[in-house]
């Protein structure tokens, strides 16, 4: 795709849950490289380790063994607060639901991350409005999450994930709670941002229609990579929209 080094590299990444009678290998020896600008789907049956893998890549969870490099930095070597700062400046997150702070408006939710980053007021205003436009919610910017539909909430979540200008966005089943039309709409926005702004997206999903939009599909089974395919003509679909 390009000559830049991969933005994410995992090395024998493994997570073992040792709580029950039998230890569960949620993620098993995963070696993965994600390049700048990818639009990649992580698929696999329930319990295959998608969430666990995304959490480790995003620095939310520590691996049992193996390593994660993000932008050339070893997440395992970072202290707790360093890791939080690293997430704040480098990684955008979209979760399945309840992403937003209920007492803040759409606009304030997006701005929040930039406040944590201590961005100037001018910079914040500019970027927040730009993002609201990108996700098509200028007219809803003063509404609180409970006044927004599930799809609109997820769009705000995507905008918030981008507010910090991250290296990539991790989205764990972002469409799971949406109907298919709203899901398609969210995917349109995500792939537009990917195409036009070059934002790297990695999302897990069960939804075949969402999988169809990905440029690369990584399939997990029992915590290990079963297949890793590049979809050559996926972008054609976007350009026809």
């Amino acid at each position: 795709m390009n000559n830049l080094p991969p933005v994410i590299i995992t090395e024998d990444l493994t997570k073992v849950y040792d709580e029950g009678a039998i230890p569960v290998k949620a993620v098993n020896q995963v070696n993965l490289q994600i390049d700048q600008g990818e639009f990649t789907a992580l698929v696999g049956p329930s319990g295959s380790g998608k969430t666990t893998l995304l959490n480790m890549i995003g620095g939310l969870d520590r691996p049992s063994s193996g390593k994660v490099w993000v932008d050339g930095k070893n997440l395992g070597a970072m202290k707790k607060n360093q890791l939080i700062d690293f997430r704040l400046h480098n990684i955008g997150f979209v979760f399945q639901a309840y992403n937003l702070i209920p007492v803040l408006t759409a606009r304030e939710n997006i701005e929040f991350v930039m406040l944590l980053q201590k961005a100037s007021k001018k910079e914040r205003n500019h970027r927040v409005l730009e993002l609201l436009r990108e996700v098509g919610l200028q007219d809803k910017m003063n509404n609180r999450p409970d006044e927004l539909s599930g799809g609109q909430q997820q769009r705000v979540a995507v905008a918030r994930a981008l507010a910090s200008k991250p290296k990539f966005v991790l989205a764990d089943e972002p469409t799971a709670n949406l109907d298919s039309k709203t899901a398609a709409n969210l995917l349109d926005i995500m792939s537009k941002l990917n195409q036009e702004e070059g934002i790297t997206f990695i999302f897990s999903t069960h939804d075949q229609r969402v999988i169809d939009r990905a440029h690369r599909v990584i399939t997990l089974v029992d915590g290990a990579i079963e297949s890793d395919e590049l979809i050559a003509n996926a972008s054609d679909h976007i350009e026809s929209v």
Partner: protein, 404 residues
């Protein structure tokens, strides 16, 4: 940003926040009323005795306080008084000659304390002239007495009647005299009201054959909060022939009563606030537990645990301090009313109080301390109760928080 977020968060569950606040308002009002009446009563009790009679500091001949006889009197020395009054910490030094004596009318008699005074000076320190309820105040040249109401009614005497005083004077000579009653005076302290007779100093010295003698110099300090220091410096200044005592030393019982009453109040308030603390803690706990997922998201997207726990502490403190401020605001008019119109006990209850030497009136204090101290108590209580969520959130991991 944190403050705005905290403010909005506390109104997420309006009902719960209001209930919590109301319980705090209730506790604060109750506590303030309690403190106010206690302080009011104690201040009054102290005022009744200290300001109106003994004064903050007295100088006697050494040993007088333990053995209050005329033999322990000392010579009036104008230089001593001048010296004392030149001291910047002392506004006035007033002379007194006091002794026990039998007061009698035609049919009745009763032991009482005769106080020889310099009428003008005495009144400028103890406001004695303002306590006249009937008749007139004394002049230095009068050969007349002022009698407390309680004593006069016991003896069935009134203004212009004659009071007979019989007892022992200096060096055991017999002392007797007849004096017209020039005025009646009323003291708040029932004990004092029962048995005081005031006489101009010269007359009392003649009565007791104690020419030029004094039993006490009552000092009026310029600052009542610096009495201990003043006593100490006077003790060093004066010769060993004299003793300098503050009111706590002269009346340890009163001092103890005041200290004891204060402690009693504290126990009640601790119980009260303990009950309130459970309410606040319940709210704090709910506000923390029901938002685990949200906290997980916030930490995930880059908010540090410390900031998040500060947010939660801020929320708790906001609720509590708002409740405390509400309580203080609500209590101000109530206390002000009771301060202006103290509750007077009537009938049997009043008699019972007087029997124990307590004025049967509930006075309330408007001292600022009564109010803000409750605010501080609630503030620190909230901080303390926030400790649990604070520690809990500092340890929170995003994945496990979002899992629950």
């Amino acid at each position: 940003m944190l403050l705005k977020l905290a403010w909005r968060n506390i109104w997420r569950n309006k009902k719960r926040t209001f209930i919590t606040m109301f319980s705090i308002v209730f506790a604060v009002v109750l506590s303030i009323l309690l403190d106010s009446v206690k302080k009011g009563l104690l201040d009054k009790m102290k005022e009744n005795v200290v300001s109106f009679y003994t004064g903050y500091i007295q100088i006697h001949k050494k040993g007088y306080w333990d053995d209050k006889t005329l033999e322990n009197s000392f010579d009036w020395q104008p230089e001593l008084i001048d010296n004392l009054e030149r001291n910047k910490s002392i506004s006035l030094a007033i002379p007194r000659l006091e002794s026990f004596i039998l007061a009698a009318s035609e049919k009745y008699s009763k032991g009482c304390m005769v106080v020889g005074i310099d009428p003008e000076k005495e009144s400028s320190v103890t406001s004695l002239a303002e306590k006249i309820t009937k008749g007139n105040y004394l002049l230095s040249s009068d050969k007349a007495v002022l009698v407390t109401e309680g004593l006069a009614s016991y003896l069935k005497l009134d203004v212009n009647d004659t009071l007979v005083l019989i007892g022992q004077g200096y060096h055991g000579v017999s002392a007797a005299g007849k004096f017209p009653i020039k005025g009646l005076i009323k003291f708040g302290s029932p004990d004092l009201n029962k048995g005081l007779v005031y006489l101009p100093l010269k007359e009392s010295q003649r009565l007791f054959a104690a020419d030029n003698k004094l039993t006490a110099l009552v000092l009026s300090p310029t600052r009542t909060d610096k009495v201990k220091e003043l006593v100490h410096s006077l003790q060093l200044e004066l010769t060993d022939d004299y003793e300098v005592m503050n009111w706590q030393l002269m009346m340890p019982e009163l001092d103890q009563v005041i200290a004891g009453e204060k402690a009693e109040n504290v126990i009640f308030q601790v119980v009260l606030y303990l009950l309130i603390a459970f309410g606040i803690f319940g709210t704090v706990l709910m506000m923390t537990l029901e938002r685990q997922y949200e906290f997980g998201v916030l930490i995930a997207i880059g908010m540090k645990n410390f900031r998040l726990s500060t947010l939660v502490v801020l929320e708790n403190v906001l609720i509590s301090v708002l409740g405390a401020i509400g309580g203080i605001i609500l209590s101000i008019p109530i206390v002000f009313y009771l301060f202006s119109y103290p509750i007077k006990l009537g009938g049997k209850l009043a008699e019972a109080y007087e029997k124990f030497g307590i004025e049967p009136i509930f006075y309330f204090s408007m001292a600022p301390r009564v109010f803000y101290s409750q605010g501080l108590v609630v503030f620190f209580l909230a901080l303390f109760l926030s400790l649990y969520p604070f520690i809990k959130i500092r340890r929170l991991e995003p994945v496990s928080a979002m899992h629950s």
